[in-house]
């Protein structure tokens, strides 16, 4: 009987913990200023590199505005990583 109660309690705690973790996993949207996107034909590389990054759900890059608007899962990717990806695509993140 005691074993059954313990098992039930453990399962309940695990289900509750999973629920709490899911509730706290948030989708964030950030706008990052990017410099040097003077060439409209090459700025699409930034969006491509961002979209290929695990955790990024949406990335819109505007060479006119000089910014990238990114929607991402902050459990899977950090803003620092997103900045790194933009730098890796050849452009510079404005601090």
């Amino acid at each position: 009987m005691l074993k059954r109660v313990t098992n039930f309690a453990l399962t309940s705690v695990m289900v509750l913990a999973l629920g709490v973790m899911t509730a706290f996993a948030t989708t964030k949207t950030t706008t990052i200023r990017v410099t040097g996107m003077n060439c409209s034909h090459c700025s699409s590389s930034v969006a491509k590199a961002l979209k290929a990054t695990p955790g990024v759900q949406e990335a819109e890059v505007s060479s006119e505005k000089g910014e990238a608007v990114i929607t991402f899962d902050d459990e899977k990717v950090t803003e620092a990583k997103l900045r790194e990806v933009i730098n890796g695509a050849g452009f510079k993140v404005a601090e």
Binding site: C39, H41, C42, S44, K48, A52, A89, G90
Partner: protein
């Protein structure tokens, strides 16, 4: 009615050619920045990547170290990258730039017409994938990501390697 029958017949006979980008690569002869003639036909039997790029294009510059790495690593498997500048740039400045980066594949100065003969896509960088039979297997717009290399180019290289091994085995028998 005749048009419908004609189109249906066309679709039935040439589905791959109609629905995919696959077509024979146009002939290409260019002078490299080192003064050598670069002919696409000379690379028949290799998997060729024609990389359209420009020194003023930040993503083009960013992907060059990866292209150098791919050429070094997969050259023995039959990979040949050819860099073609677009739009035309000064030979001296391109040479300075590529020497500084120690680019290990031929670089030639291109024109808008040359790029248009391979693709109408204006994106830079742009990489055209040509298989060992000289057929365009696709284009990659923007930086060539390692995932894209693994998915689209590696299978072509492996296919070539396997066929080469079969030929070698046939010769030795």
């Amino acid at each position: 009615m005749v048009q419908v029958i004609f189109l249906t017949a066309l679709l039935a006979l040439f589905p791959a050619q109609i629905f995919s980008q696959e077509r024979k690569a146009p002939p290409l002869t260019l002078k490299s920045i080192e003064g050598q003639t670069v002919r696409l036909s000379d690379y028949r039997g290799k998997v060729v990547l024609i990389n359209f790029w420009a020194t003023w294009c930040p993503p083009c510059r960013a992907e060059i170290p990866d292209l150098i790495k791919f050429q070094k690593e997969y050259g023995k498997d039959g990979l040949q990258i050819i860099g073609v500048t677009y739009p035309p740039e000064e030979r001296a400045s391109v040479r300075r730039f590529t020497r500084r980066l120690k680019v290990n594949y031929p670089i030639a100065l291109g024109t808008r017409e040359i790029k248009a003969s391979f693709s109408r896509d204006e994106t830079l960088p742009l990489t055209v994938i040509i298989d060992r039979e000289g057929v365009i297997r696709g284009t990659i717009a923007g930086i060539l990501l390692p995932e894209e290399f693994n998915e689209q180019i590696k299978p072509l290289l492996q296919q070539q390697k396997l066929e080469g091994e079969i030929k070698d085995a046939q010769k030795s028998n």
